[in-house]
Symmetry: D3
Subunit: 132 residues, 6 copies
């Protein structure tokens, strides 16, 4: 259960209305996801979060699907339930197949293991041949 009362989709606050409309238009959906309704309890923070997310997630030198895959990898590593659900859905919507999802998650699992082994043994960075 949320720790705050989710803001209604039709809340009259103009900052909230502008962001909510832009979220629905940008994501091409007809409802406002719960995270944005929670953030709307502090309208200025809602606006800061949304304008920044929109700027970072738009396709640029890196395509939209790769960005969503990175979002999923981060969310799994942080064990964020809400975000794992929404980014798994988002990658599928952008065309990630079941086989590709399996491969991505295999890589995520692998490096959660390897990261800890590297830390466990406290290995220093490799001296590459050209740096010797």
């Amino acid at each position: 259960m949320p720790t705050v009362k989710l803001v209604d989709e039709n809340d009259p606050n103009p900052v909230i209305q502008e962001v909510f409309l832009d979220i629905k238009a940008t994501k091409k959906i007809d409802f406002v996801p719960n995270i944005w309704r929670a953030l709307a309890t502090h309208p200025q923070h809602l606006q800061l979060c949304w304008t920044r997310l929109k700027a970072i997630m738009q396709p640029g030198a890196v395509d939209a699907l790769t960005k969503e895959i990175v979002a999923l990898a981060v969310s799994v590593t942080n064990s964020c339930r809400y975000c794992i659900n929404s980014h798994t859905a988002a990658t599928q919507k952008l065309g990630l197949s079941a086989e590709q999802l399996g491969e991505v998650l295999a890589v995520v699992g692998l490096f959660n293991q390897m990261n800890k082994l590297a830390d466990a043994y406290q290995v220093g960075p490799d001296i590459l041949p050209e740096q010797k």
Copy 2:
């Protein structure tokens, strides 16, 4: 400083030799990275880790660069110094430009924030219109 004595690249143990040769051949490098020399203190574990990493990281339904980007995103989220260094280098070797690296890390930073905000407000999963 490593917590174990790194195994020499020319260690005569046949399991170690086989893995070390395969690492150099597969990665097209002429030295054995430190993490593998640390893992070689337990040859069976070295072999399990390497054969699995090799299987998971080979290009399949997902290409090699995307897999390295995922490895980097996981390593940053886990703050693993050694792995951040090696996967930043690996993505660059596979062609990731400075601008693309900047975009990938922007996405990594963004969702480390959003994950915690979703947890902070304890929002439940969205009920999608088609599920209502």
Copy 3:
């Protein structure tokens, strides 16, 4: 569902009774929160945890509300569901307004992002002018 059977509030064990009474008196509540009923499965650990928490959380050089805000910031960063719920409630009871909660969580989100960017780029500590 808890992994252990929660200890009854009226359990006759004298160590448990003493701690449970002190929890209710100190927190001015008339029930024992679930975490303490779980810890009571090992009475000595219950006592160690409670006496230490009571000592650390009492107002000292830092006031009670700031301590609860820190508790909430840690709990969110660790994504601990039970603790996020109880420390959000505790900060509100001590007078944190909805606007203040929004600002605190904005700071928590911000530094979960900035921490990872600092790690991603592996930046070393700043050399301050006076140390040059």
Copy 4:
């Protein structure tokens, strides 16, 4: 060692110049901290990060010192070396005494423990008397 070449403080890019000047003016320092010089390798991301950090960290319903304490609590929980250094320094500059720092860190340590105990026992949220 940073994974990217830190951008020079006098880099002529106008976006970078504007942000660097604002950082120095806002923080009343005469050098640009390393994290911002690393982020400047992607000027748009630098700008997004700085404008948002400036907006969130300015005193509002929550004062500047409390915000820095929260930043420190998050950075310690994430074990971010660079950020622990800079936010410890920032809290001291804003007047946090040695005794207060000790108390803040005691609370941070305490809830890193309690968070894991709550997760270990998988306790559900408390049903408060008024909700029974």
Copy 5:
């Protein structure tokens, strides 16, 4: 709710069948735990994960119960709900008493605290007398 459709225990895929039978025989249970049914959505990854888990978890220089205790300590530190449940059950099946479980979790809680205090103060490694 799982993000993928769990694979049926009787799925005809021969790789899946072989692994599922081996899981039930090795663990002496008559059902396939959910995690393996989720991993079976990518049969090759299922096989890699299972053969490796089986190899690492079999009693060797370290006994089975100690290995399960380590698995539980890791799962609690990562706050993994599913794994905390299954490894708590597994340690009990191998004979860990309620008192021993309490002591193990006390150690887990303690070092989640001490780890963060060591990071908070950024203490360097001890110079042992023999190394002076």
Copy 6:
């Protein structure tokens, strides 16, 4: 570099002296490890941490080596450099062989992977046959 000035081993404060002497006697060492010298900047917190660590780490229903193995598993999962060093040394002092250390770390690596895969697929707890 530590964020505070480490307290001298011969500091005259009676609380500090009592704890420092007890640390050296209990651990049978002739110096005070750095973490305790950092904690001594807040003598009451030093005392709380030490008395609790001493109580939890003494052999009880679980032996001293198993407790140190758990401490190491937690420290690796949290990537705490100082603690990984000291608990690796402590387990070796208590007799953990190189082969056993390799097996323990293999288990730690394995479940850092499996924890994230369980989270990635959001699998619910298994319904055990007797509970059906």
